[in-house]
Amino acid sequence: MDKTDKRIIRVLIIFSMLFISLVVYLSYFEVFQASKIVTNHYNKRQWVNEEHVLRGIIADRNGKTLAYSEKTQDGQVRYYPFGNLYSHIIGYSLKEYGKSGLEASYNKELLNIDQNPIAEITQKITGPKEKGNNLILTIDHDLQKDAQKHLNGKKGAIILMNPKDGEIYAMVSNPDFDPSTIKDHWAEITENQNSPLINRATMGLYAPGSVFKIITATAALENDISKNFECRGSINIDGYVLRDYKENVHGKIDLKEAMRVSCNVAFARMGLELGEEILQKTCEKYMFNKKIPFDLKTKNSIFPKQMLTKPELGATAIGQGKILVTPLNMVMSASAIANDGKMMKPYLVKEILSSDGRTIKNFRPQILGSVTDEWTSEKIKDMMINVVDRGTGKKSKIRNIKVAGKTGTAENESQKEHAWFVGFAPADDPKVCVVIVLENIGLTGGSSAAPIARDLMIAALNKLK
């Protein structure tokens, strides 16, 4: 074989390698990149079905329409009659910027796109369906309105939930936005420092402050360390001083009394005695560091995973330091106490109906897990009743109805504290559980959050009778 032919073969080998590299790259692209790319908002394929299918209606538990679509000459328009009220529950659905809230998580249902491949093929042959499915929510429109009213002008979140089955009656987060006009204010809303797009109820991570004492108390009761504690208004842990509110001296107090006055010193001592491992285990039963299954995007509450120093452990036991919770997680925790220690899976969508009113799917209550035994939860409930009767939560007291609750005033990086309240009523047969967080309000939970909780619980009990 002469020189020329050898070179020709070399060129042929290079060509073969080039073509094979195309095959390899194409396969690599399909396996590793394709799935990430197809969901890009600029991929119009995602919107093709939506042009044909009239997006379903979203209604509250009593059938009040909260979102609907109407056909126009060139497609359809989505209407949100209550503007900002459902910005974080229903969200928005835009061709340009995508979707959020239930519009995103129930997109397939709202468009009636079948998920099983065989039905998908028949659908492709028979042509797309004309109308999407409707969603019936667990939300009560009146309670949602009330909750929004109470949060007006404040940053924070409120959730009302049925502690026994996990139905969410109301969920608001402020600041919010109007999904019907968000398109025109997109840049303004996305660049807003207060992040109105974030659903603080499920994704806001706050220092819990004293509402966390419910969890510390659970650990203390389970591990039988509920003896008396000495409180001199402050405690020095390895040179780090933890103070009580206004450095009140509580003297020798038991767990119930410590809970009533929300004594930081007593709970910090408890935390030190329990140790990090037990506290973390209890927290994880309460779903800390775990993904809460929910209809909307959630963030995990955080119990710090690294080794804590003693001062850090003391701070953690009173809900300060590196511990962070979401309001959703907190309302679930209080609900678990109301529900004999069984934590219910929270849910927003009650039912999926076809456009002609047939039930396609009914969502049933589900138990997520047990946070503690019945005896312990009963004990904590008693303490929480005591808090409302004679302690920091007095302002949530309702005449003729026993209320259980816990207040919190959480210090954070800013100068102004977050105000917390979690509680439920009626305490002997809980019908509604509520959580309130007022971000950086600079007031105590007992003075600012508790009265809101009282009003909302009254409204809920009247409404749900």
């Binding site: 020329t4 032919d5 070179r7 020709i8 073969i9 060129v11 042929l12 060509f15 073969s16 080039l18 073509f19 094979i20 590299s21 195309l22 095959v23 790259y25 194409l26 396969s27 692209f29 399909e30 990149q33 394709a34 799935s35 790319i37 197809v38 890009n40 600029y42 991929n43 119009k44 394929r45 093709v48 492709k124």
Partner: protein, 408 residues
């Protein structure tokens, strides 16, 4: 005879089977009866059958390259028909014109001897065509590489490609060179310069690589090869900083997502199409390749990937690989030096063009607008691909190797 004609084992029958199945699918996709599909289908199968029949009778050379072309153009027609039935029908007409070109070039190239003697003619003809493009050129899609004669536009560069290969082949097949290697390099770079002025970067790349391939195989001064590579690298670097056009191609290759609503739009739409297809595709008529601008032209490969899947795309790549393999095999067996070089040139032309555009639309290399040979919709480039194949067909036949000696 008849039995052989109907046997499913003959390759053209397999191609026919695929065409019939695809056209049936298109028929169902369109739902209402479309007589256009029927006419197109009959017309298409007729051309495939007759041309394969004639070729088997007339050419003693390679029969596979023609079959590969038939398969490629079938895939192209199915895809174009699905995107736009009007274009699809026109593409069948283009196919007819292409086959005619194929046989025309085949006959003319075979009949006339002494192609290797006209080095100067090729050179002058190329210059005239380049200059006329500069003077009469019409700007279409950012490149000034079209000449309009009445209503019909054509790209002179497509014709120059073939003349260029003849030029190189005649230069290297003659013992007495009309100029030294430096003169040759000077002329090649002038051509590439012309293409740069026309902003036809894809064709410029093809010219350069055809030259480098032939240069690598036949040049005795080996050092010059390295100098050329360094020179090309230098030109590429300078043009990146000086020519805005080149810069855009590179930045949209590195990160098209950043420019998704402007200069990166085409390539990202192409990636969406390929990504949505998966391995087996959505099925013909069930995807949305029409979302990609210019899909029937440069981006036809993305449409194939969306509706026929990555496996369909790999099939097309493999067809080109076999075509290139057959082309180089022809070159290896050819004893006539001129046609040996021509075979290498034509194979490089077709193979490289396929690599550049497929690599471009899948974002493996920067995108340069060239068509996918035999698959993209019509025009000068399709005709020149047919011409190239016709010439390759001549080169695949046994020839008298002693022509050179006779002349000398």
């Amino acid at each position: 005879m008849l039995r052989k004609l109907l046997s499913y084992k003959t390759p053209q029958n397999l191609i026919l089977l695929i065409d019939i199945m695809a056209l049936c699918l298109l028929y169902f996709y369109k739902e209402s009866f479309d007589e256009f599909i029927l006419i197109s289908g009959i017309f298409l199968t007729f051309i495939i059958y007759i041309s394969n029949f004639i070729l088997l009778r007339t050419s003693s050379g390679d029969h596979y390259i023609f079959l590969i072309m038939t398969m490629l153009i079938s895939i192209g027609i199915i895809m174009i028909y699905r995107i736009n039935p009007f274009y699809g029908f026109r593409q069948i007409t283009w196919f007819g014109v292409g086959i005619t070109t194929f046989f025309l070039f085949y006959a003319v190239i075979k009949k006339i001897k002494k192609w290797e003697d006209w080095t100067k003619t090729y050179m002058i003809l190329s210059f005239i065509l380049f200059l006329s493009t500069l003077v009469f050129g019409v700007k279409i899609k950012g490149a000034t590489n079209w000449i309009k004669v009445g209503n019909i536009g054509f790209q002179p560069a497509e014709l120059i490609k073939i003349i260029f290969i003849f030029f190189l082949a005649s230069y290297y097949s003659k013992k007495e060179k009309i100029m030294n290697t430096y003169g040759l390099i000077g002329i090649v770079y002038t051509y590439i310069g012309f293409l740069f002025i026309q902003r036809d970067l894809g064709t410029a790349m093809i010219f350069y690589f055809i030259f480098m391939t032939i240069f690598y195989i036949f040049e005795n001064n080996r050092k010059l090869i390295y100098y050329n590579i360094i020179g090309a690298f230098f030109i590429a670097l300078v043009s990146y900083f000086v020519v805005n056009h080149v810069q855009i191609r590179v930045v949209t290759w590195l990160d098209p997502w950043k420019y998704i609503d402007n200069k990166g739009y085409q390539i990202t739409q192409s990636l969406f199409a390929i990504a949505s297809g998966g391995f087996f595709g959505t099925g013909i008529g069930l995807g949305y390749p029409e979302f990609i601008p210019e899909v029937h032209n440069d981006f036809i490969f993305s449409a194939i990937c969306e509706e026929m899947g990555i496996f369909g795309g790999i099939g097309v790549i493999m067809l080109f690989l076999i075509l290139v393999y057959r082309g180089f095999k022809i070159a290896l067996y050819q004893q006539n030096l001129f046609f040996k070089i021509v075979a290498i040139g034509m194979t490089t032309l077709l193979g490289l063009q396929a690599f550049i555009i497929i690599g471009g639309v899948i974002k493996m290399i920067p995108l340069t607008g060239v068509t996918l040979p035999f698959v993209s919709y019509g025009g000068s480039s399709l005709i020149s691909s047919f011409a190239a194949l016709g010439i390759l067909q001549v080169a695949s036949e046994e020839m008298d190797p002693s022509q050179e000696e006779d002349n000398g």
